[in-house]
């Protein structure tokens, strides 16, 4: 009986931890990724904000820019926009709606999970997105922001507080 209770407890804890992880309760480091063929290696935080506000529509080589985002109810998305770019998620959604209905430019494409972001970015030379670092693979390339790599303390989404 004790063993069964222990196993049940372990399962419950495991389930709880998985749910926390799925809801982003435990935040992983977020990285900004582009297509591997994209020659860009660094952009400024202001440029990144401009990409997601629809202020910038092309890369420097004039090829079309395709920003993607994860669903706005995910913790990683809230962190990316609010902590990283200083853009309230509610305001971002209102802005994207205006972009779409005014015809100014396409709003960022909304994808369900990191795997979809990697797939989309790897297939589109002009795409840019953000994912947890552990979902990184060789099909996409990480870029620095303001000259800072994601491992550096000064990275715009750094979780390193030491």
């Amino acid at each position: 009986m004790n063993i069964k209770l222990k196993i049940a407890n372990c399962l419950l804890v495991g389930l709880f931890m998985t749910m926390l992880g799925a809801r982003g309760g435990v935040q992983a480091q977020t990285v900004v990724v582009v297509n591997s063929a994209n020659s860009v290696t660094n952009i400024s935080k202001a440029q990144l904000l401009g990409f997601y506000r629809g202020d910038e529509i092309v890369w420097k080589n004039t090829s079309r820019l395709y920003p993607v985002t994860l669903r706005t109810n995910q913790a990683i998305t809230k962190t990316f926009f609010e902590k990283g770019l200083g853009l309230n998620v509610g305001r971002a959604k209102r802005l994207w709606l205006k972009l779409a209905l005014s015809g100014k430019t396409s709003p960022p494409k909304i994808l369900n999970n990191a795997a979809e972001v990697v797939e989309y970015v790897s297939q589109n030379e002009g795409a840019i997105g953000f994912i947890p670092v552990e979902k990184l693979d060789e099909r996409v390339k990480v870029i620095t922001i303001n000259g800072r790599a994601y491992s550096e303390k000064e990275y715009f989404l750094s979780q390193n507080t030491k």
């Binding site: 994207w96 209905l101 015809g103």
Partner: protein, 347 residues
């Protein structure tokens, strides 16, 4: 070529086509729908109105984009012997992006004027059910109602970012079109083209200041002079934080009068609007709106205080309610109140 080789080629094409499709072509459909309810103390009657059901499409392939909007307005019931409402191709254009500085468009457009004309009918994008007077139809000459500028035009447009430095950017839009006329979207009735221009200065993410200009020869000649020269200048300001929104605009209009009267007819309109977002859910709105026909006659101005609230459970659904206190300077036009509410949903 042997059948097997052909099959290999075909299978390869099939396997790679999703890659090509994802890389080069994107097709999207958006839309919005709104239902309004209105009660006016002047007419003392109420009405529902399914004001808009609009479908927008966007096709993008690298540097080329095709955009369109079809509107079904006021019920849009078309029958051989009448019907009601309207179905219209609001916008349709093709765009080529040369760079961030230059995008070229050809087709039918909403005139880039002020804060609202580019989202004129897109009710999920603005807080109130009714837009300010600058965007409505008026009778500056006391005869037929018309807007201070053409809401739409057919022609060409060039736009982009003129310059940027730090958090400041200057965007522009220039357009040339047929101008107002009986068949303005397909046939210009004279050799005079309309011109539109807008400059928008953005400072950071909060402040923007814009100037707009539209000039045309109005074929219908609101004042009775066909082909009357008309011009309108606009100035707009918007300060938008996560919680507080301030908007204000001024438009100055001038049109040639008929031969007997001579000279120019002027009109001016301005408003100031304040809104405060509470928890990104409830937004009370206050607006003061003013329109003056510029005739210096008694009764040529109209003022409105609007008090409203916008409730938005998410970024696509909006419940709006407002009361307008309308005041007229004409002694025989009584002040009245108009209650408006609407549901507006984007999809």
């Amino acid at each position: 070529m042997e059948m097997k080789q052909i099959q290999v080629i075909l299978v390869s094409l099939l396997l790679t086509s999703p890659v090509l499709y994802a890389q080069q072509r994107e097709f999207s459909i958006y839309g919005y729908i709104d239902l309004e309810f209105e009660y006016g103390t002047e007419q003392k009657k109420s009405t529902f109105d399914i004001h808009h059901f609009n479908l927008l499409t966007e096709f993008q392939s690298q540097q080329v984009r095709v955009f369109s909007e079809i509107e079904f307005e006021h019920g849009a019931s078309l029958e051989p012997d009448g019907g009601e409402g309207e179905i219209a191709l609001e916008r349709a254009w093709v765009e080529y992006t040369h760079s961030g500085r230059i995008q070229l468009r050809a087709g039918k457009f909403l005139t880039p004027f002020g804060i609202y004309n580019l989202i004129h009918d897109a009710t999920p994008t603005f807080l109130t059910t009714s837009l300010p007077f600058i965007y409505g139809k008026h009778n500056p000459f006391g005869v037929n109602k018309a807007r201070l500028y053409a809401k739409f035009y057919t022609g060409l447009q060039v736009l982009g970012t003129l310059s940027k430095a730090g958090s400041i950017r200057l965007n522009y839009t220039l357009g040339v079109g047929n101008g107002r006329g009986p068949e303005q979207f397909s046939k210009d009735n004279d050799n005079n083209k309309s011109l539109s221009a807008r400059l928008l200065l953005q400072s950071g993410t909060r402040l923007q200041v814009g100037v707009s200009h539209y000039r045309d020869h109005n074929a219908e000649g609101l004042s009775g002079k066909q082909g009357a020269n008309e011009q309108v200048y606009g100035l707009d300001l918007q300060y938008d934080t996560d919680t507080f929104l301030l908007q204000s605009e001024l438009a100055l209009f001038r049109m040639e009068r008929n031969i007997e009267a001579g000279g120019f007819q002027t009109a001016k309109s301005w408003y100031i609007q304040l809104a405060y977002r509470v928890q990104d859910l409830v937004t009370p709105v206050l607006r003061y709106d003013f329109f003056d026909r510029g005739t210096n006659a008694v009764g040529d101005s109209h003022r409105t205080w609007l008090l409203g609230v916008n409730i938005s459970p998410n970024a696509k659904v909006y419940f709006k309610g407002e009361v307008q206190f309308n005041m007229f300077s004409a002694p025989d036009e009584a002040s009245n109140r108009l209650y408006l509410s609407s549901i507006s949903v984007a999809f």
